[in-house]
């Protein structure tokens, strides 16, 4: 079947779906495709109101259909079979085509999300530019935000460009200004701040535990005991001491061995925690599947009205 999105770059045979890079041909084809796409957009703008729901429903359905087919359609055992050795016939072709298409289709969502990211950044800029313009509370901080945003974007691209032109290895030797800027802003600040924010949880977990783990209700008490055992089992020193004590009573006594901290924690984990998680997980999985079905078949409306 037709590799219309380069499903199988294994054989770059030229056909109507592609064109050699750097030639006018590819640019023309891309240009036409873009025009067609925006033509479609224009058509949508003109579309009458009653067609709106069916149109968006159709898009959702087709998008979902791909994965459903991948699931239901017979799958080739070895999707890497060279094309000349592949069995012919409609069913086989379709199944191999699906298998080849997976790596391609997998990218759609995050390409689209990337296009949409502009919206988010735009709203961020709008809010803060307004603040500065209207001198609202904290407007100086909005300036800080905008400046660091511009700085990071600039150095990001600059460094990226230099690496493309000179090659990464050269840049790592020469360390031009771009490299300094990007390294300081990204590695030196952004990444460190993320780690710092992440580590704040340690403090919150302490205060939360101190507040919540009180033997007030049955539930709180159970929570408390389970957590204590789990925490003790995290401390190698404690485990070794406790288990050592047990073993001192009789190393080959199978019954006693059930009371080593690791076995107790293990028992809780395997026979109480695992099934508990699994039960929740079944529910969540079903919920997701059900919601997926409802969205795919447009049974559920996304949005208020």
């Amino acid at each position: 079947m037709i590799p219309w999105l380069a499903q199988a770059p294994a054989e770059p045979a030229l056909n109507m779906w592609n064109a050699p890079a750097g030639t006018p041909e590819i640019w023309i084809k891309v240009g036409i495709a873009m025009l067609a796409g925006f033509g479609l957009l224009a058509a949508l703008i003109a579309a009458p109101t009653r067609l709106r729901r069916p149109i968006s429903a159709a898009f959702i359905f087709v998008a979902g259909l791909f994965w459903v087919l991948v699931f239901l359609f017979p799958k080739p055992i070895d999707s890497q079979t060279p094309h000349d050795q592949r069995p012919s016939g409609f069913v086989q072709n379709v199944s191999f085509w699906l298998a080849d298409a997976i790596p391609v289709v997998s990218n759609f969502s995050n390409i689209l999300t990337a296009f949409i990211l502009g919206l988010g950044v735009f709203s961020l800029m709008r809010i803060h530019l307004m603040r500065v313009a209207k001198k609202q509370t904290d407007w100086p901080f909005s300036i800080v935000l905008l400046v660091s945003m511009v700085a990071m974007a600039t150095f990001g691209y600059w460094d990226w460009k230099t690496r493309l032109d000179l090659g990464g290895a050269k840049v790592d030797e020469a360390w031009p200004l771009a490299a300094y800027g990007k390294d300081l802003l990204f590695d030196g600040m952004l990444q460190v701040m993320e780690a710092a924010m992440f580590s704040l949880i340690a403090f919150f977990i302490l205060s939360a535990a101190y507040r919540a783990f009180r033997i007030r209700s049955v539930e709180a008490t159970i929570l408390l005991c389970a957590a204590l055992i789990a925490m003790l089992n995290l401390m190698g020193a404690v485990v070794v001491t406790w288990d050592g004590m047990i073993e001192s009573f009789g190393k080959d006594n199978a019954f006693l061995m059930n009371f080593t901290l690791s076995s107790v924690a293990g028992f809780i984990r395997d026979n109480l925690q695992t099934p508990g998680i699994r039960a929740i997980d079944f529910g969540i999985g079903l919920g997701a599947l059900a919601m997926g079905l409802r969205l795919w078949l447009s049974l559920e409306r996304v949005g208020g009205n």
Binding site: Q7, A8, P9, A10, D78, S79, Q80, A99, D100, I102, P103, V105, S106, N107, S109, N110, G167, A169, F186, D187, Q191, V192, E194, A195, F198, S199, A202, F203, I205, L206, S207, A209, Y210, R211, F213, R214, I215, R216, L224, L228, M231, L232, L234, M235, G236, A237, V239, V240, D243, S262, G266, R269, D270, Q273, T274, I277, R278, D281
Partner: protein, 309 residues
């Protein structure tokens, strides 16, 4: 007595900031003591160690896929895991193809760890790991689900077009020309698929790989319970969980592994085995003690206060 009633009530409501300060001080102070805290490796870690070091499970010189999905933000646990893992792989001359799906920075972070371990080997004048010869960096792939799907369906096309520059050369070549991936075209071709992750990419992989290749995971403590779930159902062959996992790995590397009914697994005694794991392990203990004490105090105070009423 009026005033110890107030004490009990005070102890029931210690100010957050007091607890925070205590935690910070205790953690910092413990870092300055170098102690090898004893450990008792759990079965998941033992299985992981066996999977990585046992010659039958992972023959010398074979290639593994190493998916590194962590960055600065989980450095505390993941870095230790990565270091321990790389020490083992390099000592056993296991080639590895490095890739990441979680974060664009992950490959860079991973490369820094490789560099660090290489320096360590250089200092001991052992052979340094060469890019292209011993490992290739396939780089970052956006969209975890999609990539895992693609890799499971067809590894070769999933990572097609990724290039790496052989030493001495200046022109990047297709990674599949390298000694590392020469014999690999689908995931089934590698003896083990390893994932060092700070997020849930391991779950995604497990779902998509569907047991086509033995899967080993080194995950953060948070992901532990979920991953153990898959370990129970045999979808993961071995797991190291969090700092504990690191400390256990490190002591296994020091002492080797003896299990009843299974062949013993070698140790790497005499090498640098204790690393970041042990460096942090004492602090972890003291912090946990603080937490337990805080909880106990809170409860005792509550009960005592009730008694008074």
């Amino acid at each position: 007595m009026a005033n110890d009633k107030t004490i009990w009530e005070k102890l029931q409501a210690i100010d957050r900031r007091v607890l925070y300060t205590l935690l910070m001080v205790i953690a910092t102070v413990s870092l300055f003591f170098k102690v090898n805290v004893p450990t008792k490796p759990g079965q998941p870690t033992k299985d992981l160690y066996r999977l990585l070091v046992d010659a039958d499970a992972l023959p010398e010189g074979s290639t593994v896929i190493l998916q590194s999905d962590w960055t600065q933000s989980t450095r505390g646990e993941s870095a230790g895991q990565m270091e321990a893992l790389l020490r083992i792989l390099m000592r056993r001359n296991i080639k590895f193809a490095l890739l990441s799906v979680a974060d664009p920075q992950a490959p860079l972070v991973a490369r820094n760890v490789i560099r660090a371990i290489n320096l360590e080997r250089k200092a001991k004048n052992q052979r340094e790991y060469q890019v292209w010869e011993d490992y290739v960096n396939l780089g970052y792939f956006p969209n975890a689900e999609g990539t895992s799907n693609a890799i499971a369906a067809n590894f070769k096309t999933a990572v097609a077009g990724r290039k790496e520059t052989p030493p001495g050369s200046t022109t990047p070549l297709d990674v599949f020309q390298s000694p590392v991936l020469a014999k690999v075209s689908k995931v089934e071709d590698v003896p083990v698929y390893i994932n060092v992750t700070g997020s849930k990419t391991s779950n995604i992989l497990i779902e998509r790989l569907g047991g086509r290749v033995p899967f080993a995971a080194l995950v953060t403590g948070v992901m532990g319970p979920e991953t153990l779930n898959y370990y129970q159902s045999g979808q993961v062959k071995g797991v190291a969980i969090g700092l504990n996992g690191v400390a256990e790995m490190e002591s296994l590397m020091e002492k080797g592994l003896e299990e009843s009914g299974k062949p013993p697994v070698q140790s790497f005694a005499g090498e640098t085995n204790y690393g970041r794991g042990m460096a942090y392990y004492l602090a972890l203990h003291t912090c946990l003690v603080l937490m337990i004490v805080a909880v106990v105090v809170g409860n005792v105070a509550m009960v005592a206060a009730r008694k008074k009423k």
